[in-house]
Amino acid sequence: MKRKRVESAAEDLSQLQRRIAALLQKQSLAVLSTQGAEGPYASLVAFAESPDLKHLLFATTRSTRKYKNLSRNPRAALLIDNRSNRVSDFVRAMAVTAIGEARELAGQEREAQCTLYLTKHPRLREFVSSPSCALFCVRVDTYLSVSRFQNVQELHIKA
């Protein structure tokens, strides 16, 4: 029964931070949830994380439904997980939900963050550089980490 000890109920803050950071670094896609006039909406996005975990970046063209939704309501959630579609997912997979507020970046700030984003997703250079593409930054308030099926820890980021 080889099993990595993925989490312990008594883990401390730095362990939880490290565990979340490791997942974010390893995964490249997240499910983005937005709220539109017709209700909730989910889409898959390529994301990048700031080293301090406080911000998540993703890119989208301005003609998309998610762009429209975020323009109306900037609250957003991103789900990042490491499931592998195997039996073991039920106990080994970890999922993190990041909840926060998204805003479109512009000017120098966009340039700076774009570098960070492209470090993780070099193949998206052309896409992000397109005038029709928006780069969003989500300021995260809370991460919810779910592991071993039902163990839930929250990481709150102070304002």
């Binding site: 109920a9 008594a10 803050l13 301090d52 039996v87 073991s88 039920f90 071993r148 163990n151």
Partner: protein
């Protein structure tokens, strides 16, 4: 189906898929030994079954409900019971079932067989773990055989196997079990032979009983024992057994019966036969190139070898490794009956009497030195009773498990813990204690003036005082000690006042369901077997009752020790034996009772920094009492914390000791770090119909007193800081 192979045809290339036992039997047959004919169901069938039915996922989830590292044996037992129920509930896919039945038909039709485990894991580990996996004798009919095959597969995940999961390299995806189906021999005498005595390499040992060797292997029957010189086979000694019972075949399975008088005087083996057995074990040692442990049986003049495996005892250099001790707790029915008698007729009366005598001692008559000596004497007594607790009371708890196994095998309930319902609602000492407290609370409810008087720190009337004194005397006054010199109101009075604020609460009455369940269980047995089943149920109830009562009685001794320590401290403040030190000493002893307790105590972890804060929102344990409850947490770290307990709070603790259960009738729910379905917390929760979750890792560290907590006793989940769940679940039964 190519997955059912005659034993004689198993060659080296099939070793890994046929398992250790089948491979050894094949070699014995090829060598020319007399071995009952049979076939092996290769591990491929196990793999196909668990994959196609989704069992693999279910096993994985059952194993990961909690971190098994550091889990106590009892928790592993629960896990194994759950997994076994999964196998029992999951039939083979129809096509697999019919293929297997077709392949087995020539070997099963019209005859009784033995269905035995053959684990590749044991083989890989190059050691034999006798008795970790299941085997069944005298199985008749195809359906029964396939049911037993599933039980043998399930035993890949038995409690014993889980204890040795690292050595066995247990892995949900990779591990598998093969099964040997062999012709059954109605042996007249049977036994085991050790080519090399594990305790003396110069000797060989032969053990034999009349009838089948089942009784010898599981420890029910004491065998005749011969010690031989290993090099020559010369008999050095023969120790005859009492020889009163014999294991015989019944219509399905086996049964313990009285041994016919003619055989009682007769050793199972003649000198010639002892020599034949010795010859066989030497032969097996040559064949397998290592000293062997051989099982054999005689039919008429013919000796048959049932199995041979290398002698390797599972041992560990780690003194903390208690695994073989845990396995030794698996007692047979006969063994438990003897133990029960000893406990009920000797130990418990002596324990009660000891406490009574101690409670009558008036310390004012003692000099300081004599009182000091008395404290020491009482500490020694406590240690003595601790030893008896370990040696007798704890092993007797296995009575519940033995019954659980029998109940699940005969009734096959969907809930593997249904059997607990039949044991619960005993007249526990806890209830007697609660009734005393409740009577005092009833007086306060009826008499507001008395309540005000008590709350103001006055003693109440003579009648109330008498009840209070009786309570302290009877139950050790543990609460009073923990809170130090009496300054505020008596902690028992505080508890009574708190109880009086709410309506009376009594233990749940035994339900009609309980009787139905008992009848349903007993209906499976006819004739003499029924009486045996009734005896087993009675034994299990005694075991359940004792699980709680023994601690109450032990608590009295502990209370008496503390009473002496307090008296000494009052005379010589600051001297040795202050209540603080006394509590520390007892903590140390009690930590022995629950060995993992001390180890998990660690300083509160850092949960906040300048930019971040973490909260544990939800943790998973094991469901141990159905229902949903939400309330403020009361984290109990020491006995004196109990005095602050308020009605409607959730009791959060490391391990519920029966001496802490004063407050349970006030609680809305229970959360316990220690896991298991048969632990005190779970037992008492059921008695009072409280939602209970056990096996919550680090419960007392992640939950703080006053945190709002929801206990989901259906799923075994604890939600911290979320009040809404109960409202969402309206319509569900719960507290």
């Amino acid at each position: 189906m190519n997955y059912v192979v005659p034993l004689a045809e198993i060659g080296h290339e099939l070793s890994a898929r046929a398992g250790g036992k089948a491979r050894a039997l094949a070699r014995m047959l090829q060598h020319g030994s007399t071995v009952p004919a049979g076939v092996c169901i290769l591990t491929d069938v196990y793999h196909e079954y668990v994959r196609r039915t989704g069992l693999q996922t279910s096993i994985l989830m059952a194993l990961n409900r909690r971190n098994l590292t550091g889990a106590r044996w009892e928790e592993l037992w629960d896990t194994a019971l759950n997994i076994r129920a999964l196998f029992r509930k999951t039939p083979l896919p129809a096509d697999l079932q019919s293929q297997l039945a077709r392949a087995l038909a020539p070997h099963v039709a019209g005859r009784a067989v033995a269905v035995r485990s053959s684990s590749p894991g044991e083989d890989d580990a190059r050691s034999s773990f006798a008795g970790l996996h299941a085997s069944y004798l005298n199985v008749v009919g195809m359906d029964a055989v396939i049911d037993r095959v599933r039980e043998v597969w399930a035993s890949l995940w038995s409690d014993g196997a889980l204890l040795y999961r690292r050595e066995l390299k247990l892995d949900v995806v990779k591990s598998a079990m093969a099964v040997v189906i062999q012709e059954l021999l109605a042996g007249e005498k049977s036994g085991v032979a050790f080519g090399m005595n594990p305790n003396d390499p110069e000797q060989s040992v032969i053990e034999a009983v009349h009838g089948l060797n089942q009784g010898l292997v599981d420890g029910t029957l004491e065998p005749d024992r011969w010690i031989l010189e290993r090099s020559s086979g010369r008999v050095l000694s023969h120790a005859p057994a009492a020889r009163s019972q014999v294991v015989v075949l019944t219509a399905q399975g086996v049964q313990v019966a009285p041994l016919p008088p003619a055989l009682r005087e007769k050793a199972p083996l003649s000198a010639r036969e002892v020599h034949r057995v010795y010859g066989a074990v030497c032969d097996m040692e040559r064949l397998f190139d290592a000293p062997q442990d051989v099982e054999w049986t005689w039919c008429g003049k013919q000796m048959h070898l049932l199995q041979s495996r290398p002698i390797t005892t599972v041992s560990s250099d780690d003194p903390e490794d208690r695994r073989s001790w845990y396995l030794s707790l698996r007692r047979s029915f006969e063994n438990l009956k003897v133990l029960r008698k000893k406990i009920e007729t000797i130990h418990i009366p002596a324990l009660i009497e000891e406490a009574r005598v101690l409670s009558q001692m008036d310390f004012t008559e003692l000099s300081d030195a004599a009182l000091d000596a008395e404290c020491r004497r009482r500490a020694d007594l406590y240690v003595k009773w601790h030893r008896i607790y370990w040696d007798c009371f704890i092993p007797f708890a296995h009575g519940m498990r033995l019954f659980g196994i029998a109940y699940n095998e005969t009734v096959q309930p969907s809930d593997p813990f249904e059997f607990v319902e039949l044991l619960a609602y005993a007249d526990l000492e806890t209830h007697a204690r609660h009734r005393l407290l409740e009577a005092m609370a009833a007086r306060v409810r009826a008499d507001a003036a008395l309540g005000r008087c008590l709350a103001g720190g006055q003693g109440g009337d003579a009648d109330f005082q008498a009840s209070l004194t009786r309570f302290h005397k009877q139950y050790g006054g543990l609460l009073a000690i923990g809170s130090g010199p009496v300054s505020g109101p008596d902690p028992v009075v505080r508890l009574v006042l708190e109880m009086a604020k709410g309506p009376p609460r009594a233990a749940v009455e035994a339900t009609a369901n309980r009787k139905t369940l008992a009848e349903r269980f007993l209906a499976h047995y006819g004739g003499g077997k029924r009486r045996e089943a009734e005896e087993l149920l009675d034994l299990a109830r005694a075991s359940y009752r004792l699980r709680d009562d023994d601690n109450i009685y032990m608590g009295r001794i502990k209370g008496e020790l503390l009473r002496a320590q307090t008296a000494l401290q009052q005379r010589r403040p600051g001297a040795a034996g202050t209540p603080k030190q006394a509590l520390d000493d007892i903590e140390r002893l009690d930590a022995l009772k629950n060995p993992t307790r001390g180890k998990t105590v660690r300083p509160a972890s850092v949960r906040e920094s300048a930019s971040f804060r973490m909260d544990t929102r939800q943790v998973v344990g094991q469901p141990a009492g159905p229902g949903i409850a939400t309330g403020a947490a009361r984290v109990i770290e020491k006995v004196s914390d109990l005095a602050d307990f308020k009605a409607g709070e959730i009791l959060v603790c490391d391990a519920v000791d029966p001496n802490m259960t004063f407050v349970i009738p006030l609680a809305a729910g229970i959360v316990e770090r220690r896991g298991g379905m048969l632990i005190h917390g779970a037992i008492i929760a059921r008695e009072y119909g409280l939602p209970c979750v056990t096996g919550v890792p680090e419960a007392t560290h992640i939950i703080r007193t006053a945190d709002r907590v929801t206990v989901d006793g259906y799923l075994g989940i604890v939600i911290i800081g979320e009040a809404a769940l109960r409202e969402k679940l309206l319509g569900l039964r719960g507290g």
